[in-house]
């Protein structure tokens, strides 16, 4: 069975299922057996939904046996970051404050995947409220990088990335507010897509920063990411920022078209600051892309260096507002009745006991930048510079179709290396944040095929596209993977 798990892609799974090489039930069981063995050392999952998963896998098998046509995602075992709601499953957001909470409805993305009869194995570990770049801020347990257990998987969707990398899920959902899909994808050697702002509904996502958050897929290949993305995208009346997808060649990339894409290399992303192994990986990736005879051009995104400051003003501001709802009243309460006498007590004690170090820091920072006397100097200024960053991309996309950049400045760092200094942790998102601020789609793709047995730490290349042009970056990603 293990051989199956390690070799499967979504299409491979679908064909095997239709050809009766295996049943969806067998595969789901195989995944749970492997998780029971492997996840002790990785720590990717916070909860498993075994009964429901096996039940929905059996339903797929019944359909296949009776010759009913099933979706390409039918029976596909998925992992879901624990900020996306699945009805009646725990939804902790990695925080103690939601330890006792379970979701009362399905997120729109889950509803869509359930219609396709995908199978949900469980909810994955993350940095508390998706705040972090290493999953070390989880209120529950560490996640270890499957390539080197002493290193972080990245974050905040570290559990989802590690689950796919260690073959504990065929694909997964994560969320990306400043790099939380792409950075762990790069560290774990898998593909991770942050869709365009508005491409995917966030209804049923526990919000971090609403002007930046997007839900997106992890897959072993760009094709797998495209298949999951094509299923979850589209407009939704419950998220008024979501828009209907246009016709494109997302699922059947036209490589004749892809070959003619012009690729921009932003000089600011290569101007020092890359670790030697990332520099080497990027040179390798560029050489391989150039062998495809694509047209390259050096471009400039002049405001790149300000993106980190802009992000760490806007994100805490929005997060401090979004996290106000966790007040010990509306969801569940973690402090006992004896400890609280008044409403004020409930707020202060529940939030005081429930939020870990990083949410505390960001709530206070957000409260500060929004407070009277500081609003113009910080928040209003950041919103203006955000506009300049968007203009950088608009200018660049007049010249090129896709931007080629590293996903991260280094490969996976050691557990504990950056926990003492939040600013050094924030800097690990320096190449992923600009795409969130501008709202453009971006994907991280492994520079080459990595094998867990080799122990070589993966490097990710990032492809950034025009708004709603996921078909360009995933198409080029698929073209690249064929090399």
């Amino acid at each position: 069975m293990k051989k199956h798990l390690h070799d499967l892609t979504i299409k491979g799974f679908h064909e095997g299922l239709l050809n009766k090489e295996f049943s969806a039930f067998e595969i789901a069981e195989g995944y749970f057996d492997w998780i029971a063995e492997k996840d002790k050392e990785v720590g990717a999952y916070l909860s498993l939904q075994k009964d429901e998963a096996l039940k929905s896998a059996s339903e797929v098998d019944v359909k296949v046996a009776s010759g009913v046509e099933v979706d390409v995602l039918a029976g596909v075992p998925l992992a879901v970051k624990d900020v996306v709601l699945i009805e009646d499953a725990p939804a902790s957001a990695g925080s103690k404050i939601l330890e006792k909470y379970s979701a009362s409805y399905d997120a729109t993305v889950i509803k869509k995947l359930k219609e396709a009869q995908a199978v949900f194995l469980g909810k994955t570990n993350l940095d508390e409220f998706a705040m972090g770049s290493s999953t070390e801020n989880s209120g529950y347990r560490l996640v270890h990088n499957p390539y080197d257990l002493l290193r972080v998987p990245g974050g905040s969707s570290g559990g989802s990335a590690a689950a796919v990398a260690a073959n504990m899920a065929l694909a997964a959902l994560g969320t990306d507010t400043g790099g939380s899909i792409r950075q762990p994808a790069a560290f774990c050697g898998v593909v991770g897509l942050k869709p365009t702002y508005g491409a995917v509904s966030r209804h049923g996502l526990i919000a971090l920063a609403s002007s930046l958050d997007q839900i997106g897929p992890f897959g072993k290949t760009a094709e797998d990411a495209a298949i999951v993305f094509s299923k979850i995208r589209g407009s939704d009346p419950f998220d008024s920022t979501s828009v209907e997808a246009e016709e494109d060649d997302l699922l059947k990339p036209d490589f004749e078209r892809i070959k003619k894409l012009r690729v921009g290399i932003p000089k600011e992303y290569f101007a020092g600051g890359l670790s030697p192994e990332v520099e080497k990986g990027m040179a390798e990736a560029e050489r391989r892309l150039r062998s495809l005879k694509l047209e390259f051009e050096e471009i400039s995104l002049p405001h790149t260096k300000y993106a980190l400051s802009v992000y760490y003003i806007i994100l805490p501001a929005e997060a401090s507002a979004n996290l106000a709802r966790f007040d010990g009243i509306r969801y569940s309460r973690i402090v006992s009745e004896k400890e609280v006498k008044s409403l004020r007590d409930i707020y202060f004690k529940d939030r005081g006991a429930g939020f870990g170090a990083e949410p505390r820091r960001r709530i206070l920072l957000g409260t500060f930048v929004l407070s009277a006397g500081y609003y113009d100097a910080y928040y209003a200024k950041a919103q203006k510079v955000r506009r300049l960053i968007l203009r950088d991309f608009d200018e660049a996309f007049k010249k090129v179709d896709v931007i080629f950049a590293p996903t991260t400045p280094t490969s996976a760092f050691k557990i504990g290396e950056k926990t003492e200094d939040p600013l050094s942790m924030y800097l690990s998102d320096i190449f992923t944040i600009p795409a969130n601020l501008a709202g453009v789609p971006a994907v991280s793709i492994p520079v080459k095929k990595y094998s867990l047995a080799d122990k070589e730490l993966p490097i990710g290349l990032q492809l950034i596209g025009r708004h709603f042009r996921e078909a360009d970056i995933l198409g080029l990603g698929q073209y690249y993977e064929r090399l």
Binding site: Y105, G198, P237, L343, R360, K384, V385, R386
Partner: protein, 95 residues
């Protein structure tokens, strides 16, 4: 720049109890992060329209009808901490 008193005021605004033992580290971290933001001052943003959100959509309207949702009824409040005779119970707001 930030004093302990400022920090306590922020915690008060955020309705979040702080431990005495974490205050020093928090102040140090916030100081360093706020220091990093100083670089924004060198940019001239005169006349730049603030980007107040991520969407380019304008005026998203819908018919004024009830939307079908599973969230109505018992399930939406089943995890509320205190209940009494069908009511949701909290301590008095005014004492």
């Amino acid at each position: 720049m930030l004093s302990k008193k400022d920090l306590e005021h922020l915690a008060e605004l955020a309705r979040m109890e702080l431990k005495k033992s974490e205050e020093e580290k928090l102040l140090k971290d916030l100081e360093k992060i706020l220091g990093h933001f100083e670089e924004l001052k060198e940019l001239d943003t005169e006349g730049v329209l603030p980007m107040s959100g991520g969407t380019f959509s304008r005026n998203i309207l819908r018919a004024d009808d009830l939307e079908e949702t599973k969230l109505a009824g018992e399930k939406s409040v089943s995890q509320f901490p205190e209940r009494d005779k069908g009511f949701l119970k909290i301590p008095p707001v005014f004492e």
